[in-house]
């Protein structure tokens, strides 16, 4: 009987696969990415290397000496002191304590400060509080400390915001009205994020992390790219990271363009050059995890997409590898065996500049 290796499904459940099955899953996952993105499949050597990583006997694996990369963070200290029923663990602690714990105890290469809602719009009424927190943290820390938040353009639509919900308008076939609503929301998104970051940068922030860009589709990405462009012009030395929400930009609007490129339907390797063009220093590509597929399938698919993005990008790429993205299983407590294998594969095969 052929040896079986303990691996995971996309939801984290343990499964046992033979080497033959692992190889066929890798080929299928890579092929799926190649078909969708019209990018190269993994080579035979890369497939073999990925299989070797997945079949390593240890529970935790790591990159080879000398191949380590800097790690950036989303959600900041909220993973410690927050609790939204997902990644926060609700430990009563200040954000300064959280930042310093990451720097001095957890070995973080960079860190970020974020509002409990982790969206730019709700920061506006409490921006002074955020500036105070940033100043205190910067006075106590050494590693780069960003301000992080989600563009989260959905907050600009009714019932949460001033503009009519495009989903409701489209249901009534008011397509032009829906597009207008998205364009207005994007303008406000740009204006708000620039205003918030003007304050935070004046308070000593090293930069900004736009986390989950394009969560509300192409207009969300358009608004964020415009914000990046304005911030780069106003603050040439600001560190700007632009991370995505999903692998493909959803065409909610369908006709928006940035720098002559239609945003709807862009894959990671097509998104990266636009982030660089707008003025970002680092791009954070995303590939979603399919919970019904195996970890070899998901990881091969993610590595194929990200490798193409890294090659297409003129700026460093820090791949998103949180819960349910980048080959990581979709659950609150991703198994260490799956996380470390995905981490190693992204560095050694996809060639990422950071995670």
């Amino acid at each position: 009987m052929a040896a079986e290796y303990a691996l995971r499904m996309g939801d984290g459940k343990r499964i046992y696969l033979t080497e033959e099955k692992i190889l066929s899953e890798i080929e299928a996952g890579s092929g799926n990415a190649a078909d969708l993105g019209e990018i190269p499949d993994l080579s035979v050597d890369e497939i073999d290397k990925l299989a070797q990583i997945l079949m390593m006997p240890g529970k935790a694996v790591s990159v080879e000496h000398g191949m380590e990369v800097p790690v950036t963070h989303d959600i900041g200290t909220i993973r410690l002191d927050g609790d939204q029923g997902n990644s926060g663990v609700g430990i009563p602690s200040s954000r300064l304590v959280g930042c310093m714990m990451h720097e001095r105890a957890f070995g973080a290469d960079t860190m970020e400060l974020g509002h409990i809602d982790y969206s730019f719009k709700p920061v506006k009424p409490v921006v002074a509080n955020e500036c105070q927190a940033m100043e205190v943290c910067q006075q106590n820390m050494i590693i780069p400390l960003f301000y992080g938040a989600m563009p989260n353009m959905g907050l600009y639509y009714t019932p949460d915001g001033p503009f009519e919900n495009p989903g409701d308008l489209m249901k009534m076939f008011k397509i032009d009205k829906a597009r207008e609503s998205m364009e207005h929301a994007a303008e406000h998104l740009t204006r708000d994020t620039v205003w918030v970051m003007q304050k935070l940068f004046a308070s000593g922030a090293d930069g900004v992390n736009f986390d989950t860009t394009a969560a509300a589709g192409d207009a969300d990405m358009y608004g964020t790219l415009c914000a990046v462009e304005i911030l780069r012009t106003q603050f040439p030395d600001m560190y700007i990271e632009m991370g995505m929400a999903g692998e493909m930009v959803l065409g909610m609007h369908g006709e928006l363009e940035y720098d002559g490129v239609r945003l709807a339907g862009l894959w990671p390797h097509e998104q990266a050059p636009l982030a660089a063009q707008a003025g970002a220093n680092v791009f954070g590509p995303v590939v979603n995890t399919n919970t019904s597929k195996t970890s070899p399938w998901n990881l091969a698919r993610a590595v194929t997409f990200i490798k193409a993005a890294v090659e297409a990008s003129s700026i460093p790429c820090h791949v998103n590898m949180g819960m349910g993205v980048g080959g990581i299983p979709m659950l609150e407590t991703p198994p260490v065996d799956a996380v470390t294998r995905a981490s190693k594969a992204m560095v050694e095969i996809a060639g990422v500049d950071g995670i």
Binding site: P70, A108, T110, I142, M323, P334, K344
Partner: protein, 103 residues
């Protein structure tokens, strides 16, 4: 989960030289190889040493660029970042703000 990534692939921040390499990626858009090479040259070490806690523990103290423990008289926070600015030839926003405030 972030700890799993740090242990598997990270440069472990100020335990070694992860913060310095990250600063070069963000301040100069350097890709990982170029950033490591740049920092290694400034520190006069091999790129391999940038993730070596044994090498970097003593070197960070010697360069006064911040370490995880308390050493009497050693630079911390803004002071350490000002030394990093000089070492890497970059400007750090919080240091710029601090200088403006005491001018």
């Amino acid at each position: 989960m972030p700890i799993s990534h740090i242990m598997a692939s990270g440069m472990t921040g100020i335990r070694a030289a992860g913060d310095l390499v990250a600063r070069m990626e963000f301040s100069k858009n350097m890709r990982i190889g170029e950033a490591k090479e740049y920092v290694a040259k400034k520190l006069n070490v091999d790129a391999m040493d940038l993730s070596d806690e044994h090498v970097m523990r003593e070197l960070r103290e010697e360069l006064d660029i911040g370490i995880i423990t308390s050493v009497p008289g050693a630079a911390k926070s803004i002071a350490a970042k000002m030394n990093i600015e000089k070492l890497l030839g970059i400007k750090i926003n919080s240091c710029e703000a601090f200088r403006k405030q005491i001018a």
